[in-house]
Subunit: 338 residues, 4 copies
């Protein structure tokens, strides 16, 4: 298939779906979005018209169609399972935005279906793994140049969230990124989760404890703390410090000109995730296209999606019950071992 463009169908034409259509059609190499589907027919049709692709009111019909080679699922979260299952049934590669499904049980059903189908097809949209800085960190950790990692200190800071963002979302929507990327960085599973609170910022509202700290430990004893502070007022900033036996490593600050003005020497910080991680999104989808055309899944798997949700649920329980919660799941099927 290498010589021809991959023909992609997108289910769910909301904001994230459209940014994927735009990057595939205008920026990336080797694929075209040829079809889209949305339960909101009028809106979906307008998107199809704008991007000159075929519209399907029924996503499953699109997925089954011979017109498309691969699927991107960008519906709202509760519908992910339905369309990923349809792709598995159709034997087509599918990229599903995170989370794979809101409930761990649904993720498990996907895993079981994929295993039963006998072929790995599913990739989950954890795009941090594609950020250059995290990749530099992983390279520095993996060869053990600096000894074993012992502790990680992380932060996830947003400028502001709206009223619909409540206490559980700090784990389930924000720190879910750390849950995935740190497990990948350390290449091992988590053992326990805990969530604690600090003093609330005046900028928060009645339904949101902000900031929060999630504490994870790994099977081998690495201890991780992640600060989620989603109303900093001004910056989108991601920190990851890896304390190893022989070195302390830090995720780079994004590159920006140094400005010395008004008696301050400094650098502008991103105020939005979409600018901070724009390159990571492009790399993620380009690598998915490339791997799909070569008949491989080499990004986050359905199993990763499942483990992510299990961990998030454990962290949520830990937060609600104010205690340390053990993280348990079945052994990883051979199917996912490389």
């Amino acid at each position: 298939m290498a010589g021809k463009d991959l023909r992609i169908g997108v289910v769910g034409t909301g904001a994230i779906g459209r940014t994927h259509i735009e990057r595939i059609n205008n920026k990336l190499q080797g694929a075209k979005v040829v079809a889209c589907a949305d339960v909101n027919v009028d809106f979906g049709k307008s998107v199809a018209e704008k991007y000159d692709c075929k519209f399907y009111a029924d996503g499953e019909e699109m997925i089954a169609s011979d017109d498309i080679d691969a699927v991107i699922v960008t519906t709202i979260d509760p519908y992910h399972e339905q369309y990923v299952m349809a792709a598995i049934k159709a034997g087509k590669y599918v990229f599903c935005e995170k989370p794979l499904a809101p409930e761990a049980e649904a993720c498990k059903r996907i895993v079981e279906a994929e295993v039963a189908g006998g072929k790995q097809l599913v990739q989950v949209g954890f795009m941090r793994r594609y950020d250059t800085g995290y990749r530099q960190l992983k390279a520095a950790i993996e060869n053990r140049t600096y000894g074993e990692p012992l502790m990680l200190h992380c932060a996830h800071r947003n400028p502001a969230v709206d009223e619909s963002y409540d206490t559980p979302m700090a784990v389930e929507n924000s720190m879910i990124h750390e849950i995935d990327v740190l497990r990948w960085l350390l290449n091992e599973d988590y053992a326990t989760a805990e969530v604690v609170f600090a003093k609330n910022t005046r900028r928060t509202h009645a339904n949101l404890m902000d900031p929060q700290i999630m504490i994870l430990t790994t099977k081998s004893g690495v201890r991780i703390d992640v600060e989620a502070f989603v109303n900093t007022g001004h910056c989108y900033d991601i920190k990851c410090e890896v304390v190893c036996e022989d070195a302390i490593l830090n995720l780079p600050e994004p590159s920006n000109i140094e400005v010395c003005a008004n008696a301050t020497r400094g650098h502008a910080i991103h105020s939005d995730w979409s600018t901070r991680f724009v390159d990571a999104y492009n790399t993620e989808i380009q690598e998915w296209i490339d791997a799909t055309k070569e008949g491989r899944v080499d990004g986050p798997t359905a199993w990763d999606g499942y483990v992510g949700q299990v961990t998030a649920k454990a962290a949520s329980k830990a937060r609600d019950e104010k205690k340390v919660v053990e993280i348990t799941f079945d052994e990883m099927p051979e199917f996912y071992k490389k």
Copy 2:
């Protein structure tokens, strides 16, 4: 007394005592060490000879003598109480290296003696308060330019410790500095303490869990984590990040030339506390001399020394019993309120 040199007697002529003698006699202004005392008579005499001051085999005799105006206590920790008490009895200002006394009860006896004596005389050697960087942090916090502080992330990293350094010393000898300086920085008391472990470095030994993390909360809800990692292998490094409502503030790195060599752009880091905090020690003793000559105590008080030990004991209990421990003590006497 402003026009004349303060005549100081030093009890305890070990390494720290001698560095204080050298800085007072050769570097600072307005004082001279005129006498020293040590239970080790031969060694003490050699020190007295070297620095051209009078030797006393009996520290209490020296403290009572009319030849000295003020006292510095740099004996081993268990003898601090005895000599501080002697100074209070003699009505003389006394600078006592940290800890004020190893046991909180002993600290409390000192507080009670000082209050009973009716005059503030005791200062404890918590020198971090005199570091320029911490003072810049305190200035930035105190005027609330950046809103309320919500969380602190700190680290205390040493290159190596010897076999005599065991698990409890991470709190009682290393993080005791953070216990004092962060309480001063935030200007409020602690509510709870907890100590947890990460994965051990291969560099540690059987009696030392390294690294450790101490977690403190304040009465108002500020959450503090302090990493103690005392076998980094290469650096003495102190971190303090203050997450406020409107800004994130960080203790400065010590100033050093930038070297771009061997395909790396970087700065040398201190590998020893004595070089990292040399200016803080000088400022600490100079300000103590100045205040003493003006009849004031304006550094860490006996009460601060007492609260520091109570907190350290709570953290130790939390570590041993693997739980969160509340920190309780009597109300601060009016005597110490400014």
Copy 3:
């Protein structure tokens, strides 16, 4: 043409030619290399085979062929003129690696041919303009947020060069990049050039004065110094400091993890231009593809290529004659004004 891939023919299949073929075929969007040409027939054929494209022994025949839409010229420098002229004659868009031609007179002939042809077709490969950092600098300068630029301090540092690199190449091969990008950054022409020497490094050889400093002034009086130091021994490093009336701006350091090890806190520096500017090369060619498909030239023009060579020649004369040389050329044709 927007919906179809641009069919590109590459003249010159050396190292830079092949990296462009690889990036177009595997990484970028909207184009394919369908043909290549090389006077070295055997080698050229092997390249054509590897990349599955048609081989032409005669580059001009390839350029004239209906099989290709646009041309990339990556031959050795003296042949650039011949193939760019052929592309102009064929009415096809052409991307020519820098320099447009080694002699200013040859550049002028290209300009005249393009003007006579009545359509802008030529782009020159000055890729610095596509580097994110330079674009951030240009954005900060252009809106005059920080007042007028007054001075620039720049450096161009390489780890090492081989024996064939001699004194004139510091201007003509290395600082030619600064000649183009700084003129673009400031949006004005140069008035004078000067080249002076510092103490030679022991790493240089008999035919190379290293380091050198080139000094340029602009028509409005901005003063620029550019250090070329091509035997630093360890780093590929590009500096650009713009001193404005109200701020000092600096080109960012490329992003890299912070490593604190061996008592040093630092960042690795690139040791090779190909890694330092890999993103700039990709952006350059992608934007050229996009503009070509839309029938525009929006990168460095033939006129820019001509002015660059005039400036380099003036700097070389200044160096050889040890004096300040005025930079003169005819007025820019209306044709190139936007």
Copy 4:
């Protein structure tokens, strides 16, 4: 004399004189200002009263008096020679603020008088040599760890100057500091000087070209450029980059907390030389006191003061005549060789 305070007399009770009195009496060790003199009798008397020292209307009388051991000259520049000569005549150590004298000829007369007197007594107030950062640079250069220094890029930036500051003052009052400190850093004499202009900032006035660039070369061929930009509008900032064969070294930024606020991560910069170099001034005077009490001059000598003025005059001539000027002076007397 080690055991007793050095008794200092200060001639000239203006601002800089008074800051020296304050630092000696309140901050430094081993000396007291016991007398002061000023031609402005009323003002001088008020200063004497404030600092509780004896007043002399006649500075030479004070210098000759048995009441003082050593002299500090902080009059306006044209009177430096008279009082330094008086100190030499009296055989007393004298610290003279820079310049030693406004005219090179006057400096030479001082040198000759000192040599004739047979004992080194004079130190000039070039305080940059006492800055920790410059000392770190010198240490890194002197042991040739990084090979030979080849080039220096420096900058001297002030927030603003008043109308009395004219074009010549950039060399004679501002960059005179670089003239001295760079010669000390490199440990060799200058060969040539040149001064050129950039585009003027709008903030300057009719009698001041701002910024300026002074170019110095050393006997061995090191090339130095120093930017003087005295109306930056906001910062007092000193840069010194030493390009060596194997490394590029930079003077450290002064230490300050990192503030991440308003979508910028940065550090405050000094806006005043008096805060930037406060530690250097203290160290300078303390080391002068210490050396004086031990009967040595170990700071900048009369010869250094003379060479500094010769260099400044050459740079001024270069600026006025728009050409490169050779710097010539007699051989350094054996007297000053260590």
